[in-house]
Every structure is written in structure tokens, then in C-alpha cells.
Symmetry: C2
């Protein structure tokens, strides 16, 4: 079929005005936040229902047209990029909350519901959707689930996966499956729900999801600690976890904090200058919890793990302390950071981080390295900043070389080359550093079962041969 | 191959004395708790390592010998029963804790570790493994994971699935896969770990697992409430959940409690006789939580939802109140109960339970029905007691007829025919009441990918055609 024929046929399947093929929209909807590939789809379509998605998949099978799903396009691994004459299926018009059950504490959403919209819906109903991250204002639920998004509250609330009661998907064969029926307990054969979560749209598209909600957190309190040494991050974590349920345990380097301070009007947490900082959050539901936290803090000081610290006394103070961590990404954005999203088991973090830091600084002494991340989950964001006098091409080329060293260390430590961003196009070549050849053969076998014609987001995560 | 040849070959693969084929052991290891099928394996083997399991699977593929996994044999759906000349692979000698990391709060176990052994190991290390159920003293970790076991603390701690950091499996093709590398965050392609959990050994055998642990619960306090009406169970649940993190929300009928009282020396919780009872458990970490609980309790009384109630003032009292719920199964055991394990979404529980109760009592007015279960998860155990003057065969025959009515109601309510016991042989014929024909076709496709010769626990969950 010619592109023109495809567009004509698609228009018959969807509502008026819901098929676009002008250059501007093809460019806009063919990209995510990575912007490293030139987009080249033939059309962008906006289905309004699961039935319309099913019609699109059947059409795509019949004519062997490739489909690429598109949510909020905030992806960081080019998982939703269309570079090769695909049809982009954008979920922007499937943005309705379809049902809400207060006694089940579940909300049934279309895949295009924006994360922040879901968070707000929960709050309006005196409940809480706890998955949260920097792109929550744009990212869509379908994309979150297809990458099993994590974020800043994983230590307490887990990943997106943990909040899914049920899924509606259209498989690559065009079947509509209602997975898990929103049940809390259901042991009837393989749990296909968990197979679709994190599959980056390569087995089929998630069109609807029933998400669990929880009670709102109470008296959230933030503690920022200055640490002498990286290994102390683990000592402090263990000490607090024994007594207090942390809702966050984040980490950033002094260099990261300096960028935040230079960039905006954010104050240092205290006068003492520390090489590393940890941010702890917990619910101070009673005076006793607050007393416990103070005792643990003093214990950490006495042990020499902590140089200084500050604890929030109000919601405003808690919010302000969070800025130290949350504004890092935007502060370094002007410096064209090359981002890596790696993980190891928590106890190996200090050694792992040091080894990578050494390798990168040894080979590229001019590169400025900014570390921050979800250290309580073993997830580190390694950001390399472009030296001002280096060209972008030169810089990204050098970062590709860095990648190999970094991923060799990741492999040696038994870690992951993608903790929460997914694989997409960008990390496909590095998948073998985390998954064995045998595992990848099974991934291909599963793909074949759900998408025998290879039309669903082809070329993402792994190649078919 | 003749059975004798199989036994000879197996002996070459394993340690001395780790292949048995005497009638007594074949009978013992060929069954689980269901005892509804005559066991008929050709041998029982006891591997000591993942490598030996791999050797067994390779042998089984070469000679097309079927393998049945065997853990603590506490299953209630005949998932680990060998009726057809299979080799039983018993994990009793793979019962070692291989590694423990306090700072990761993970413990690496062989599949034959007994649930209680894991719970005790955690406690000895000032930590907690929270998955708990009646058969914890016998059930093995591999079996728990293969059925994604739930139990009495799901409302707070989730299912077995939620505590798995990593798995080692031997697939039906004989590959050893190390799944998820014990990482908290790892988004690198399909999560095969979740596919093996709940697969009842039909894709391969779980040989090792790294389990997460958590902090020990603090000041566990139990509240038992007498309820006027079933719908009040939901009102009470919602009221408490808004303010308190419950660790359990269980339910039992007056009839269930009467059996416990008749059976043992357990006291009624209070003088008021109520048709239904709810048992709530939470951590009373401060006086304030206790005050909150009392306020909520009074609120429930004022609303007319609760007739009477009692709250534990000590660990001993909490333990005693739990007996009311925990001793139900053993109390009714002499009455040859026919057990069903069904679930719906929580809000539908009262209506669902009433409808099933009506149907069963209408058709079989002589049957005594005992209801109890994990109502906070929508999971109900329907127990039908054999009238004393009815033969076992006659009784079980009639229960099969009851099944059809029950499962038709389950289907109409969008529920599950197996909330936590699994499918095995016993519920295979009813799988279509919860999974669609399209879903089952995908289950078969996945089975084909991992076990192309159909040698892993064949005939369980679904048939191959």
C-alpha cells in the first residue's frame, strides 16, 4: 500500500479528523524526549476506544503496516519513536476516567489518562495514587505501564506494576483481552497482565487499566542528611528502615546540589558542606515517630555517618527540601546531559558508583559527572555534562564509548542497564549486558505468540532475529 | 523406556539414595492434600541443586518422560499430583538458605525451604517474612511461588509474588535462567519472573528464589467485631482503611465460630451473638493509633454497623482472638468439607456471597455451609459440610453439581474460580469461567515456547489441545 492509500483506509476506521499526515504532526508525534532519531511515520491516528484500537491492529495485520504507540512522549529510551514509515497510534483522546469504586479503591482509566490527572482524581476522592516522577504532568498511564515506571516513592509504594488491578489490551493478533478482572487474588494460569506491563508495546497495546489507590499519606516529613562517605548511605538506610517505614530515600552529590543552587533560588539545607546528601521522607503520624526519627538521626551522627542534617517542621519546609532533589534534572538540562539509568542491588551501590566514577573520570577528566537517584532502590542516574567547548556530536560519540565501560561494570555487578527508562531503541544493543542469550530467545518466542506478524512497535527492545 | 530403565538412568544423574520407586514412597510423593486422585508415578527423585534439576529436565526431554514437581504437598487443587507414570521431582533436599544480605533485606533460598523456616530465619535476623497461611509449617517456597500463595496478610503485604527479588528456574527446554538478578528496579524486556510465579510448574521448575524481607511488625493489635449484616463488612473496612493501615481483615460466620468453640477451648469474643464477625489487625505503634481505632470503632457502633466488639490488650489476647479465625479449618475437618476458593472484587462480596448461599441452600437444604475468608481481598472460602447420613461419593458427586452453579455466579460477577489455591487438575475444567478462550489460547502458546515437548507437569492448569 502507498502512504496515501494507508491514510485513506485509516480514515474509514476512525472518527473525523482523527487521522493526521501533515509534516508538523508527523514530526511531533513521531518522537519522544530522546530526540536522537529522525521521525518518519506515515500517519498519526487518534483512536477513541478499545474497539477502534482493535480495528487498527486488524488493519495493520491485513496490510502488514507497523504500529507505534504514543503516550505523553516523555520516554528516555526512544521506545515510542517512529522512524520507518509506521502508523503512530496516539492515545491523547483516550483520556477518560471511566469508572471509580471507592470501596474497592480502584479507578478504571483509558490508557491516555495523564499521570497527574490520575493523581489529582485520587486526591479529589480523598485517596492517593503514589507513583510519581518528574514527567507526571505529561506522561500517560499507558506509557507508564508499558515501561513499568518507577520514580521517587518506589521504596514504599513499588513500581507502576504494583498498582494494576486489571488491564485491557489489544494483542498483536488483534484480540481484546481483559486481564485479571480487577481482582486482588486470582490464581488461574499465567498472569498475562504482568507480561504486558513493561513490554513497551511490543506484544500489543494497553488500552485501559484499572488502577489501585491507597489512603493519602499523613504528615509527610523530610530529613536531609549530609554524608561523609558513600558507604554511609547504606548504614543510614538500614538504621532508619528498622524502625520507620520510609516513603522515599533519595541521594544526590554535592555537585548536583550546586547546580540546583546556581540555577534557582534554592537554599542549601545547612552550612556544613558534605560530599553526598541523602533525603529521607516518612509519615510523622505521631510525636513518637518524630522522636524516633530524632533518636535515629542522633545515632547516625554519633556513629560518624552523618555530618549534619535538617528536618522539616512544616509542609512548606518539606516541599522546599524536596526541591534540592527534584530540580536537579532541570538545573543541568542547559548543559546537554547524557543520561544513564542503571541499577544494582542496594548493598553494592557505593562500590559500584565509585568504580564507574573512577572509569569515567579517568578516561574523560574534562567531563563533569552528576550523580543522583533513588538510592533506596539501587537505582542511580549517571549524568555526564557536555564540556562547553565540545561539539554535541563529538560529545555523544564519546558517551557511546563511555557506555561500553559503564555497562561492563553493570554486567560485572549483576545490575541492570535500564532500571526504569526501558530499552526502546537506545538500549537495545546493550540488552545482553542484563539479559542472557537464552532469556532473549524466550522473549522472541513470546513476541511470536502475541504478534506473529511483527507489527507492534517493531525494532524496539530487541530485533526479531 | 520401561519404568526400570528410567529408574536406572535416573540413578546415574543423582546422588546415592536419591531415587525411590517403592510403592509406599510412590504413593506418598504422588499426592497432595486433595487425595482425590490415585497416584501412579514411576519414580520419586530428590535433586540437590539447580544443576541436577537441569540434568533431569534434559533427560526427560530426551526420553519424553513427564516430570511433576513436589514441594510440601499441601496443595488443594491437585497441582502436584502424579497419576500417569510421571517422575516426581521432590525438592525436600533443596532446603538450604544459601545467602542473606541484611542491607538488601533479601534472602536467597533453595526451592525446598519450608515457609515457616523462612519466617523463622527472618525473625532470627530481626526481620520479617510476611506471607503466612495455615500450611506454612509444611509448604515449600517453590510451591508457594508456583501457586502465588496468598494467605491472611495479603491486605497489607500482598501475595508471594510481591516478595520475589529474583528467581532461578529450569525451563521445560532445560535452560537455566536467572530472572531479575535480585534487582528492585529493572526494565529490560518482558518480566519472565512473573510468568513463572503462579505457573504451577507447567513452564519449568523454580529451583531457587531470592525473597525480600521487611521490618518486623510492631504491637500487633486485634479487633473482633460482631456485624449485623454482610454489607456492613464493607462499611467497616472503608471506615478503618481511611485512617489505619490494616495488616489483616478477615471474616467468618457465626456457624464457623460455633464449630471452633465446639471443637476446642476457644471463648466467644463477647456475649452478643452476631450473624457475622470481622477480625481486624493493625500495628498500634502509638497511643494515638489506639485512640484512632477506638474512635473508628465507636463510629461503626453509632452507625449501627457493629453490634459489639473487643480489642486485644496484650499479645496473648491478640493470639487468642486469632484462634477464632485460624482454627476454623481444623474444626470442620472431621465433617469432610468440600472446599471452594473463590474471589470477586471487594465491593461485590456481600451480594455475591448471598447469591451463592441462596443457591446452595435452595438446592441442598441439608448441606451445612460454612463461610470464612480473606474478605479484605475479596477472597471467600466456601465450605460445604457432608451430612452425616450421606456417603462420601454421593456427597462429592452432589458438590460437583454445586460447583457448576457456584462458578456460573462467579462468572457473572467477573470473579475467579481460584483465588489462591491454583488450578491443578481439580479446577482445570472450570478455567473458562475466569479466563476467556482467547486468553487460554495464549497460555497454550506460551507453554509451547518454554516446554515444547510438554513434559513439565502435563495436564495441569489446561490441556494442550
Amino acid at each position: 500500500m502507498t502512504p496515501e492509500q494507508i491514510v485513506t483506509e485509516l480514515k474509514a476506521l476512525l472518527d473525523d479528523g482523527k487521522v493526521l499526515d501533515d509534516p508538523e504532526n508527523l514530526d511531533h508525534y513521531g518522537r519522544d524526549w530522546t530526540k536522537m532519531h529522525a521521525p518518519k511515520p506515515v500517519a498519526v491516528v487518534f483512536p477513541r476506544s478499545t474497539e477502534q484500537v482493535q480495528a487498527l491492529v486488524r488493519f495493520a495485520n491485513e496490510h502488514r503496516v507497523a504500529l507505534v504507540p504514543s503516550g505523553g512522549r516523555t520516554g528516555l529510551s526512544a521506545g515510542a519513536v517512529a522512524t520507518n514509515g509506521e502508523v503512530v497510534v496516539a492515545f491523547d483522546y483516550m483520556n477518560q476516567v471511566l469508572d471509580f469504586s471507592p470501596s474497592d479503591r480502584t479507578v478504571h482509566c483509558q490508557a491516555g489518562v495523564i499521570t497527574e490527572q490520575l493523581q489529582q482524581f485520587a486526591e479529589d476522592n480523598d485517596l492517593h495514587y503514589p507513583v510519581d516522577f518528574a514527567s507526571a504532568g505529561s506522561s500517560q498511564l499507558g506509557g507508564n505501564l508499558s515501561t513499568n515506571a518507577g520514580g521517587i516513592k518506589v521504596i514504599r509504594y513499588g513500581m507502576s506494576r504494583d498498582w494494576v488491578a486489571g488491564l485491557t489490551v489489544v494483542t498483536g493478533k488483534g484480540d481484546v483481552l481483559h486481564l485479571n478482572r480487577d481482582l486482588e487474588k486470582n490464581n488461574t494460569g499465567y498472569d498475562l497482565r504482568h507480561l504486558f506491563i513493561g513490554a513497551e508495546g511490543t506484544l500489543g497495546f494497553i488500552t485501559e487499566a484499572t488502577m489501585k489507590l491507597t489512603r493519602q499519606p499523613d504528615h509527610l516529613t523530610v530529613l536531609v542528611l549530609g554524608l561523609n562517605d558513600l558507604t554511609n548511605t547504606m548504614d543510614v538506610l538500614q538504621t532508619f528502615q528498622k524502625q520507620i517505614d520510609l516513603t522515599a530515600y533519595e541521594f544526590f552529590s554535592h555537585e548536583a546540589m550546586q547546580h540546583v543552587q546556581t540555577h534557582g533560588s534554592v537554599q542549601a539545607p545547612f552550612e556544613t558542606e558534605a560530599p553526598y546528601y541523602a533525603l529521607l521522607e516518612f509519615e510523622a503520624v505521631s510525636d513518637q515517630v518524630m522522636d524516633d526519627a530524632m533518636t535515629l538521626f542522633e545515632q547516625c551522627m554519633e556513629n560518624g555517618w552523618v555530618m549534619d542534617g535538617v528536618i522539616s517542621q512544616s509542609e512548606t519546609q518539606a516541599h522546599n527540601l524536596w526541591q534540592l532533589r527534584e530540580r536537579i534534572s532541570e538545573s543541568i538540562a542547559p548543559r546537554t546531559p547524557y543520561k544513564n539509568d542503571i541499577s544494582v542491588i542496594v548493598s553494592k551501590v557505593p562500590e559500584f558508583l565509585r568504580e564507574i566514577d573512577d572509569v569515567v573520570t579517568h578516561h574523560y577528566p574534562d567531563f563533569e559527572i552528576i550523580w543522583f537517584g533513588h538510592i533506596g532502590d539501587g537505582n542511580l542516574h549517571l549524568n555526564i555534562l557536555k564540556p562547553e567547548d565540545m561539539s554535541k556530536d563529538d560529545f555523544f560519540g564519546k558517551c557511546q564509548q563511555v557506555n561500553k565501560w559503564v555497562f561492563e561494570i553493570v554486567e560485572r555487578y549483576g545490575g541492570s542497564v535500564s532500571a526504569e527508562h526501558g530499552v526502546g531503541l537506545i538500549k537495545k544493543d546493550y540488552l545482553t549486558y542484563t539479559r542472557s542469550p537464552e532469556e532473549i530467545a524466550y522473549l522472541r518466542g513470546i513476541k511470536q505468540v502475541f504478534d506473529p506478524n511483527g507489527i507492534m512497535n517493531p525494532g524496539k527492545v530487541f530485533d526479531l532475529d
